[in-house]
């Protein structure tokens, strides 16, 4: 395995801050907007984004939830094994709200499709937007694009993009993992 850092250190922080500014541009004080992190890896980004937003606009009360999409996936029974479901913690009404879905990596778009299905169980949102820290472009299986993107990267299928967080993995960084070719 070869590791290539795509984003780290100060540039990582600047990217997060830029995403927050872009959100504020569209959502003002977040009075009618909610942030939903997609389990299991999107919740760390959602947490970071909402913490950063609170620093920029301390007066706003930002609602944040976590959404598990395990039971809405379209690959159930089509691959080996089962994914362990995580918690869904959404303790507010989504009806009529602007929902910002947050995930770390946007790849095929299938997770986002499942998330859009899953969110319907909590009401009919006014609008759904997508924020992704990493966009693996040209690899979509579905017509889905993000509204807010941290970085865009060109990858091939055998590669992996891993986002690690200092809360759980010591370090804020985005890594590109490639199989070593002999």
């Amino acid at each position: 395995m070869q590791n290539l850092p795509l984003l780290a250190g100060q540039k990582f922080q600047i990217t997060i801050q830029r995403l927050c500014r872009q959100l504020i541009e569209n959502h003002n004080d977040f009075s009618n907007s909610v942030i939903i992190g997609i389990q299991p890896r999107g919740i760390f980004l959602a947490e970071r984004i909402s913490a950063e937003l609170k620093k920029i606009i301390p007066a706003a009360s930002i609602q944040k939830g976590n959404l598990d999409i395990t039971f809405f996936r379209d690959d159930f029974r089509r691959k080996e094994g089962l994914l362990r479901p995580s918690n869904t913690d959404i303790d507010f009404i989504i009806e009529g709200k602007n929902v910002i879905l947050v995930d770390d990596v946007l790849w095929t778009g299938r997770t986002i499709r499942a998330a859009m299905d899953a969110i319907q169980a909590f009401g009919r949102p006014e609008k759904v937007e997508l924020l992704a820290l990493v966009d693996r472009r040209y690899s979509r299986h579905l017509p889905i694009e993000a509204d807010y993107i941290g970085i865009k990267v060109d990858t091939i299928d055998s590669q992996k993009v891993i986002v690690s967080w200092k809360e759980t993995d010591d370090k804020d960084q985005v890594l590109l993992l490639s199989e070593k070719t002999e």
């Binding site: 029974r77 994914l83 479901p85 759980t168």
Partner: protein, 313 residues
Amino acid sequence: MQTPAIQTLSTKHLLGIKDLTKRDIELIFETASTFKDVLNRPIKKVPSLRDITIANIFFENSTRTKLSFELAEKRLSADIINFAASSSSVSKGETLIDTVNNILAMKVDMVVMRHPYAGAGVFLSKHINAQIINAGDGAHEHPTQALLDSFSIREKYGEVAGKKIAIIGDVLHSRVALSNILCLQKLGAEVMVCGPTTLIPKYIASLGVKVEHDLIKALNWCDVANMLRIQLERQDIKFFPSLREYSMMYGLNKKILDSLDKEITVMHPGPINRGVEITSDVADSKQSIILDQVENGVAVRMAVLYLLAAKRG
């Protein structure tokens, strides 16, 4: 960092608790917890099993288990067909395998079966190609009931290990008792059975359970009392002189419950014979978690169906 652990059950069917490992039971509980969240949402349905067809085959009467399975299947978006032996060709002399094969020819993926004879599920699993879930076979096993009982205990106390559970009443005729004993022991609980000698199987102590014939002693020992139903339909010979006498010796009433030095939890697998094994004021008291058991039943059955469907390639 690492994608979440991928795991499945170790069995293809749910024929009895006997075949499950402790890890399987814990996996079912973890999955059931997330389904319980789903059941408390405005829209209580997920699409996981939308391409699965399930046949509910009941050769014996059932209200709770049948409704619970049906609801679990619907909440998972499965297609279902129901079949009750009393209104079918079984009464015309068709054999079990023929009946089920005919149903499978209609492209059914899973079968939920209740049957009056022990081992019917095992027999079927050897002859047909579908996932079988045992919803009670004679006086043998009733695995989903045991799972939901342990799940309810876990919910109430945080864990099952180290807890003392007394199973009281008609142990001899009860499939709930055997499944419960096996499940609780796998999870590390201590189990006692209590009832009149005629209703306690002779060699039950070989399962490693305590045997007690005095209700008050059993209640003073336990944290949880699981009161079994007197199976009036299986009392073809007399195991006790009269229902009145049984209820005087082994019936749980509020007076007994209040006289104990600690607050125990009361469970009942249903349907309750009010005034026989427990009185109404006990069944409806704060210490009873009978209705929680019913609620958890749907979540546990969803978990079982979901995990077994994944075994179907």
